[in-house]
């Protein structure tokens, strides 16, 4: 099904999508319509324009490819599936995400990957091609976040408070110098061979969609952020 979303209110647009049984949904001229592909399972969405907040929220198995930029809360509480964004993405992307993969060609806004978590075969992955805003991976409980820093010329590709409250998962950052002034919950080290082999298939997918060279990208310097077990929450309390 192909829908021209020009001037269409999101309720009507999403009702139209739900009423349609087609596997492939193509939507043109999106302009801020919310909750596209919300809770969708096993369908393929091709979106052109700018989808609104809550794109693919609670999504559980569908694939969404966006030719354009995205707004806030993309992949919020997403369970599985894939989102491919040919552009930049707004704030609060991948909040509470539990599975699947989000590939962002460009930059991501504030609070990306907050409280992502993993469980058995649910291993969420957020790959950001450019740079990330403040609060990346706060309260991270599981999964993988990678910021490739393309265009950042080797500089630290995030802003403030990266990984605050982190207690699981892994953040990989491409930068030439070891990131400094990170919160006490975070340990920093050079990416090991295991870290890089964990990252490699996602970089390959990134390059497949967005056309960079895998080998050039993988040959750069990467640092890994992991939770500091010394800073766990247990030590916070006393009781009778």
């Amino acid at each position: 099904m192909r829908i021209n979303a020009f001037g269409m209110y999101y309720r009507k647009l999403n009702e139209t999508i739900r009423a349609c049984s087609d596997h492939n949904i193509v939507i043109d001229h999106l302009c801020g319509q919310r909750y596209i592909a919300c809770a969708e399972k096993d369908r393929l969405f091709t979106l052109r324009g700018t989808p609104g907040n809550g794109l693919a929220q609670y999504m559980d198995g569908a694939t969404v490819e966006v030719f354009g930029n995205c707004q806030e809360a993309v992949g919020d509480t997403m369970n599985s599936g894939e989102i491919i964004i040919h552009g930049h993405c707004g704030d609060a992307c991948a909040y509470g995400m539990r599975g699947g993969r989000i590939l962002i060609e460009g930059n991501v806004g504030y609070r990306a990957g907050v409280h992502m978590k993993a469980h058995l075969d649910h291993q969420p992955v957020l790959i950001v091609g450019g740079t990330a805003g403040s609060f990346l991976g706060e309260y991270l409980a599981g999964g993988l976040i990678a910021v490739l820093g393309i265009g950042a010329k080797g500089a630290y590709p995030c802003r403030y408070f990266c990984g605050t409250g982190m207690h699981g998962g892994k953040i990989i950052l491409r930068c030439d110098k070891k990131p400094e002034a990170l919160p006490p919950q975070v340990l920093v080290s050079l990416a090991s061979a295991d870290d890089l082999s964990e990252l490699a298939p996602h970089v390959e997918a990134y390059c497949h969609h967005f056309g960079h060279d895998v080998q050039t990208l993988m040959a750069q310097t990467y640092y890994v952020l992991t939770p500091n077990p010394e800073a766990s929450y247990k030590r916070l309390y006393t009781f009778e």
């Binding site: 907040n53 609670y58 919020d76 409280h115 978590k117 409980a141 929450y233 309390y237």
Partner: protein
Amino acid sequence: MAFDFLYPQYEIIRNPSRCTACRLCEKQCANGVHHMDTHSGTMLADESKCVACHRCVALCPARALKIVKTDHTFKENANWTGKTITEIYRQAGSGGMLLSSMGNPEPYPIYWDKLLINASQVTNPSIDPLREPMETFTLLGAKPETMMRDSLGNLVDNMPPQLRLKLPVMFSAMSYGSISYNAHAALAAAATELGTFYNTGEGGLHPDFYPYGSHTIVQVASGRFGVHPDYLNAGAAIEIKMGQGAKPGIGGHLPGVKVGPEISRTRMIPEGTDAISPAPHHDIYSIEDLRQLVYSVKEATHYQKPVIVKIAAVHNVAAIASGIARSGADIIAIDGFRGGTGAAPTRIRDHVGIPIELALASVDQRLREEGIRNRVSLVVSGSIRSSSDLVKAIALGADAVYIGTAALLALGCHLCRSCQKGLCNWGIATQRPDLVKRLNPETGAKRLINLLTSWDHELKEMMGGMGINSIEALRGNRAMLRGIGLTQKELDILGVKHAGE
């Protein structure tokens, strides 16, 4: 170290002429208080481990045990009480925040106990609920602004989705993790039998309980544990938890030791890892953002289910509720500062938030003044202890109440307030299999059904006494209440007259 020595708060009195040294107390106590002295063959106790949960007392076949508060004391001081002194010792020794569980035990005013209920005399005769029909059926959800008719004049059903309660009491959010599988099984079965609802809390829904979905409220909180489309669609309503009365403004923390295989599967996190619910939802910074989350769950459930937004009763609760009523929420749940918890920092539990009675009265009043009371139902909690609290809550403007502590008491909780240890001897606030199996879900469900059935009878008797035969006529009917021993300011906030007026 000598600094850190704290004399036990309780003493175990064992009557040697009754004790048969059967060692049942030893087997029953997960805290390891009782043990046998193998030389003398007599039972001894380490009181420092006792939490006064009464498990050993209740099960002692010889009735040889009792627990008493120790008379050991510091030099008396009305300002520096023994409790304050020991808390300072504990913090000086550990550097930790004090942690507590269940509701605020401090002696703040309880406004329920300062409100009296009316009854009919002579005129407007009272009604006998045993003889005449008495309606306590309740619908929770937004009510339409206007009636709509089609071109032929027939009514068009424009009613938004509603929760249908046989009686205006639901079981409040208690996660699987904070309480046991058997406690959840009892709550689910009782809610189904009673025609009301229990609430998953932020712990996901165990696969075994999906069949109770039509009597389940599923919660979405800041950690989003166990939240996925099937979970959202499994329940009869979805509750977005913004706050909790016991710990307004802070999040939650289920320690890794409680995350065993079943909890892990239900919360969808690895075994043994901490489950941290951050203080805020990081995608909500405004009423507009809340509206976005409300409509996201409505989209995910195709507008078939009412959405509840739960908040703690805090200073500006009326203005906050007004915002929530405009966010698309169908029901607002307000949890007072006496609400319970599986664990909260003591200072927050005991000093943050306001009483539910005042919060309810001011929210109901504010929503009426703004002409938006019909947009939301109000559910209150923290703490509703009896059917008379329930009647007073409804007369102050609540549509229904949530009970948590009262429900746990029905399941055997003795309010020892040690949930955070995970060693509940009554099988409620624990995940240890040998302790969990002490709570029989069928017996538990039966006791919950008994409790609410008796409350429903009492509610009907009190309504009948007022000459009211429908709960709708009691709702917000503050003329049925009078204050006793309250200041004019308190009466003004509660919107009631003083007794005698």
